[in-house]
């Protein structure tokens, strides 16, 4: 701590003058008053940044002067008193000395605590200078990169994440987060999510600090999940096709046969056949609905918005919730996106009709050049989102499923709800422009 010294020659002289005055008084009467003065003087000398050695030098010079004044020198007991006087002046110095020692010890302790935190972090923690040279890295960083600390410190960050140009510049310019690929010493690639901040020292930027998390496994799991989802959709599409087309064809044949037989029967038998037809109508209805729920052909044929409109009409009819579909998707979208968003809308509207006790609901899409935002909101009873999501178990599975689908598209997902205030499911997904 650089304290500005406001010591002028005059002030120093006056402090020394007081030293001499007090010492003379004490040697004269041996009284406590002078010693209290010595203590106060010590505090003041300390406060004015006088050094310990300066004080002792002054004391020695004064004692020499005083000795010279008396023919036989200072009597031994006076020398002893002078020592006592010096002790009194020095006790404040001793106090700050102990204070600094204690402050140092606690600084060291907190330094050790932070070092432990740094070293044992599961994520990689590192710092670089302005040129991107790595100045420190923790054990997690050594482990993942395969380079030892001393090796890493001869490297630049761009040697570890070679595909990322300008990582440091971007971080210094205020970028907080990015994904980058780390190439380890053994040639393995890891996907990192890096959060960065500039390091400031006295308001000046001197480097960058970062925390990097290995998200290779997470990304892998996401990819697997996406494949699984599209595989399931494929299966559903084929089953729906089989139900609709093949079973439907068979059913049509049955209709024809029933009509033929009915013509050959007496009136009583004809009426029984009519009953059979009504039952067949119901089977046909069920088949169509099942096929539709598995995979609405309208989604493949006409796209997300018409499919949602059709879905909303069906849910409205069955549940008496008035549902409005608004906005625009700006035309057809890639099939995987349409499917995912349709499934999200389907799940959200199922929740509205099953749990929400809503009277009206709105499905709304909003297209910008390279994003699609969507909202499904209702005026129902609402629920405790965090409470449902924090529970482990089947509850909240639907919510998590929606989130997974949106995150799988690289989008953002949110559910807002509170008891008595309705529910709003919101998503925002990027589109390849």
């Amino acid at each position: 701590m650089a304290k500005v010294t406001r010591r002028s020659a005059g002030e120093a002289a006056s402090l020394l003058g007081r030293y001499e005055e007090l010492l003379r008084a004490f040697l004269n009467d041996g009284d406590e008053t002078a010693l209290q003065g010595a203590h106060d003087l010590g505090r003041e000398l300390l406060d004015r940044d006088h050094g310990l050695l300066d004080v002792i030098a002054v004391h020695q010079k004064l004692v020499a002067t005083l000795s010279a004044e008396e023919a036989a020198g200072l009597a031994p007991n006076r020398l002893d008193w002078a020592d006592r006087f010096l002790l009194e002046v020095l006790t404040p110095f001793e106090m700050t000395h102990r204070g600094f020692r204690a402050a140092n010890a606690s600084l060291q302790q907190s330094e050790e605590r932070y070092r432990e935190l740094f070293e044992n972090a599961h994520d990689i923690v590192f710092t670089t200078d302005l040129e991107g040279r790595i100045t420190s890295i923790n054990r997690a960083g050594e482990r993942l990169s395969g380079y030892s600390r001393s090796e890493v410190q001869t490297l630049s960050i761009s040697a570890l994440v070679p595909t990322e140009d300008g990582l440091v510049e971007a971080a210094l310019a205020g970028e907080r987060r990015r994904e980058a690929e780390l190439i380890a010493r053994n040639g393995r690639h890891y996907l990192l999510e890096i959060s960065t901040r500039p390091i400031l020292e006295g308001g000046r930027c001197v480097g960058m600090q970062g925390i990097a998390r290995d998200i290779t496994d997470r990304r892998h799991a996401e990819t697997v999940l996406r494949h699984l989802n599209s595989h399931l959709e494929d299966k559903a599409k084929r089953i729906a096709h089989a139900l609709h087309d093949e079973a439907g064809q068979l059913l049509a044949t049955v209709y024809l046969r029933v009509a033929e037989i009915a013509g050959e029967l007496p009136p009583l038998g004809r009426r029984r056949m009519e009953e059979l037809r009504t039952l067949l109508d119901q089977v046909d209805d069920q088949l169509r609905r099942l096929a539709y729920e598995l995979r609405p052909t309208i989604l493949d044929d006409l796209g997300l918005l018409p499919a949602c409109q059709f879905l909303a009409e069906g849910v409205s009819r069955r549940s008496r919730v008035r549902i409005v579909v608004k906005g625009s998707t700006g035309g057809r979208l890639p099939a995987d996106i349409e499917t995912a968003l349709y499934r999200v809308a389907q799940e959200a509207l199922a929740n509205v009709s099953k749990h929400g006790r809503a009277r009206t609901a709105v499905v709304e899409f909003e297209r910008s050049s390279n994003r699609l935002r969507g909202t499904i909101r209702d005026d129902g009873i609402g629920f405790d989102v965090d409470g449902i999501l924090s529970r482990v178990g089947p509850q909240g599975l639907g919510l998590r499923g929606m989130r997974e689908r949106i995150v799988g598209l690289g989008g953002q997902f949110a559910v807002r709800s509170a008891a008595g205030r309705g529910t709003s499911v919101e998503f925002d997904v990027p589109l390849e422009s």
């Binding site: 008053t33 010693l35 203590h39 300390l46 007991n77 002790l87 006790t91």
Partner: protein, 181 residues
């Protein structure tokens, strides 16, 4: 707080207590030594056998008197010149706090002993406004003097034992013990 009440009623200099009333039988062996070189001692030095002094601190003079008497007791306990200076410094810092924050108070210094050692106990008490935030008052840099180690934190480090009791408008009592080394 009996000490404090006594201090309030006692306006005429230090009150003393003699050994027999405090430290067991007079026949018990004493470890403290006769007065060290501070002879030329000021008039009215402590009567032999004194083990406890109560001093009213409400002026510079009172503070000096508290230092003088505490030092004398420390000398009797056998404290070296160095440790006497430390006792005096503790009294100075505690007394300064009393004058600064409470304007008046009391410092009671006594000889103490346990099974293994003898020492000095210094109790500074006042009925001032009290310390609002005790941990902060004991942290370096927060006292009115911005130097590490000065004031209460400094006293705590000079002492072997340190206790502080304070409450808002309940006054402050600081107890310090320093053992003979």
């Amino acid at each position: 707080m009996p000490n404090r009440r006594r201090a309030e009623t006692d306006r005429n200099g230090p009150r003393l207590r003699l050994a027999s009333s405090r430290l067991g039988s007079p026949a018990a062996p004493r470890r403290w030594l006769p007065d060290p070189p501070m002879s030329g001692a000021p008039p009215g030095s402590l009567p032999p056998g004194t083990v406890e002094v109560h001093l009213r601190v409400d002026s510079e003079q009172g503070l000096i008197e508290a230092r003088r008497r505490s030092r004398e007791l420390a000398a009797r306990a056998g404290f070296t010149a160095r440790d006497q200076a430390i006792v005096a410094a503790i009294v100075s810092e505690l007394g300064r706090n009393i004058l600064l924050y409470a304007r008046r108070g009391e410092i009671a210094t006594r000889l103490v002993e346990d099974s293994r050692r003898v020492g000095i106990s210094i109790v500074a008490s006042d009925l001032g406004p009290g310390i609002r935030n005790v941990p902060r008052a004991l942290t370096d840099g927060f006292s009115t003097v911005g130097r590490p180690g000065i004031g209460l934190p400094g006293v705590r480090r000079l002492a072997d034992e340190f206790e502080l009791a304070s409450g808002q408008s309940a006054g402050t009592q600081v107890t310090v013990r320093k053992w003979l080394r």
